[in-house]
């Protein structure tokens, strides 16, 4: 492993280069914009979590004793909208991606710093409009806005919420555009495509989905608004339209949106597994290309959301088959991560605990997705708690765990301070236990027939209540597990141990500059001469089957 000469701590870093509110609100520094996003998405995550708490409390008993059904409809809708559009989709790309992509490829900033700041303002405008809609009376259509309920029958704030999401989508598109141009044009000398960290590859794939998919959901929401306002007849059969067309258009984006959420998480996990095993990732190119494969195949599977929505059974067969193909690149990643662990020098620091948790939970989430991609079993499981459990294993067990892992891993670089490791490990275990206790009973509930989006269930089904009580208890534990990092990360900003430039002793470019970095990231442009995860000396290269590891370049 070649050691870069780490420049001494400069007089100023990106945090203290300028002071005052204006210096933050008008900043063009990708690192500061990442922190603006971090603050904003943390706020939205908190709001979304309050709705989740209300849902779990209501389901503690079979009766609807906390809220009426109409209020419950709004509660789960707003939980979904806030969490999906305002937390999960921007979570890793807009914070960690924004902060790290230029640093990982040896650039001073993203290609379009002003557009980067614009994307944050667009996100905030969309968020404020959505919050207004929630405060004004809320929306009760489900986060999926299915017609004809959303166009004809709902008396809630569909258009205002839709407008918030519509505007927010442009923020996503601009972030994706910025990443693609940056990765293509701003790599440091020697940073070839196959020397890029897998985090960057994952964000490249994510950006493709953002650009290709987001306009479709924007137009679909616009059509819902036009249908609601002017009754143009796109989705209304009485006027020659088709309500199932809405579902096609909506899921054309919203299924790939799941990969917008999970691909960056996979990028984080690739970093964590390789670096905390102190081994080059097993099958670098396979992991890199599997991100692109997931991005492409993810666009071909949306019809599995329509198996019981009067979609043609023949189209259903095609979509079922295509849905199974996405399992291949996903499995490549999981197998390659576990193969990376083999004979690795593994350290169980907090980020690694989250990374290992991700592998297990993502695997469960992915495999239960196979049940839902099968035509016959989906008839039984569709719209039950099985679906709720499945996608929470992907979104929370996958994306949220990876986000937390990434936040801990790069916290020394972001803040210049170390977090308390003992508390970190403790809370990671609490989160893991709380998460599983929350969502694993929901697989059983769904299999037993409990439908999603209902706030009551038969009192005579005692086993259902037992499972709901377990789930609510788990949610409480999960809530505690999430509060602990909030407290100690905030604590560490002032009292944490000062972080070294490279506290984990890793070869990645982002660790070859000060913590926190200077505004321009690197005092001199780095020249890259080795692979992304170059730990082993040349005499210890692995040969696996026919594959031989590339020899490092002479330096």
């Amino acid at each position: 492993m070649e050691e870069f000469e780490i420049p001494k701590q400069p007089g100023s870093n990106y945090l203290n280069a300028e002071y005052g509110l204006k210096s933050w609100l008008l900043t063009k520094d990708h690192k500061r914009i990442a922190l603006l996003y971090l603050g904003a998405i943390s706020f939205f995550f908190f709001i979304g979590s309050l709705y989740a708490m209300a849902i779990r409390l209501e389901l503690l008993t079979p009766q609807g004793d906390l809220m009426q059904s109409s209020t419950y409809n709004k509660t789960f809708t707003q939980h979904g909208i806030i969490m999906v559009f305002f937390f999960l989709i921007p979570s890793i790309p807009a914070t960690l991606g924004n902060f790290l992509i230029p640093m990982m490829i040896g650039a001073k900033d993203l290609a379009f710093p002003r557009i980067n700041l614009l994307s944050w303002y667009i996100y905030m405008i969309g968020g404020v409009i959505t919050i207004y809609a929630l405060l004004a009376g809320g929306v009760d259509t489900g986060w999926t806005f299915y017609v004809p309920y959303s166009t004809t029958f709902s008396n809630s704030y569909v258009i205002a919420t839709g407008l918030g999401i519509f505007i927010n989508g442009f923020s996503s598109i601009l972030t994706g555009l910025n990443f693609i141009v940056t990765i293509h044009t701003m790599r440091a000398p020697g940073m070839t495509w196959f020397r890029m960290p897998l985090f960057v590859w994952a964000h490249y794939a994510t950006s493709l989905i953002m650009i290709l998919g987001t306009p479709v959901v924007a137009i679909t929401i616009l059509l819902v608004a036009l249908e609601r306002l002017a009754h143009i007849g796109i989705f209304d059969p009485a006027a020659g339209g088709d309500p199932v067309l809405f579902q096609h258009l909506f899921w054309f984006y919203s299924h790939p949106a799941v990969y917008i959420m999970v691909l960056p998480a996979m990028g984080v996990v690739s970093e964590l597994i390789a670096n905390f095993s102190r081994k080059n990732i097993f099958g670098y190119k396979f992991v890199a290309f599997s991100s692109l494969a997931i991005a492409v195949l993810g666009f071909l599977v949306w019809g599995h959301h329509l198996f019981v929505a009067s979609q043609s059974v023949y189209a259903g067969m095609i979509f079922s088959f295509l849905s199974f193909t996405v399992a291949i690149p996903s499995a490549i990643k999981v197998f390659n991560w576990t193969a990376t662990l083999y004979k690795g020098s593994i350290s169980y620091d907090t980020p690694m605990l989250y990374g290992l948790g991700f592998i297990g939970l993502f695997t469960i989430g992915g495999l239960t997705g196979m049940f839902l991609a099968s035509l016959a079993t989906d008839v039984h499981l569709s719209d039950t708690y099985f679906v709720v459990a499945h996608f929470h294993y992907i979104m929370v067990g996958g994306t949220l765990l990876a986000y937390l892992g990434g936040l801990h891993y790069w916290w020394p670089k972001i803040s210049g301070r170390m977090y308390p490791e003992g508390w970190g490990r403790f809370s990671a275990l609490i989160v893991f236990v709380g998460f599983n206790l929350t969502f694993s009973p929901q697989f059983l509930l769904g299999y037993m027939g409990m439908p999603r989006r209902y706030h009551t269930y038969p009192a005579e089904l005692v086993s259902w209540q037992v499972l709901h009580v377990l789930s609510t208890a788990g949610a409480s534990i999960l809530g505690v597990g999430l509060m602990i990092p909030l407290v100690y990360l905030a604590w560490s900003l002032r009292y944490g141990r000062i972080a070294e430039a490279n506290p984990w002793h890793l070869p990645g470019l982002e660790w070859q500059t000060a913590s926190p970095p200077p505004t321009e990231n690197f005092l001199t442009t780095p020249i890259v001469t080795h692979e992304a995860y170059e730990f082993a000396p040349p005499e210890h290269k692995e040969v696996v089957g026919k594959f031989e590891r590339q020899q490092p370049a002479e330096t």
Partner: protein
């Protein structure tokens, strides 16, 4: 990359073509064509107009291969959306319950 200078005359001609297309769409709306042809006529005019905008107003005609790749990808993804959606509509009536 040097910027291609487009003559104002070209912009004017494209503008006039787009206006003519709009006029044609309005005229076509007064005729009831047989079968699905109403939509076909309107969409054909719209696609031609969009192509002119992309090629000339967005300068794609004068751009490099990377830009063509981007445009091609967008059209390909649109084709995926249409093809798989239509796979539902075309085959919905094939299945006859026993």
């Amino acid at each position: 990359m040097s910027e291609h200078i487009v003559q104002p005359r070209v912009y004017l001609m494209i503008f006039l073509a787009l206006m003519a297309g709009t006029g044609l769409t309005v005229v076509a709306a007064f005729y009831d064509f047989p079968g699905p042809l109403n939509a076909v006529v309107a969409l054909t005019i719209a696609v031609i107009k969009a192509t002119l905008v992309v090629l000339y107003f967005m300068h794609v005609r004068y751009s490099g291969r990377l830009i063509w790749l981007v445009i091609g990808s967008a059209i390909f993804w649109l084709a995926i959306m249409f093809a798989l959606t239509i796979s539902d509509y075309w085959t919905r009536t094939w299945f006859v319950p026993m």
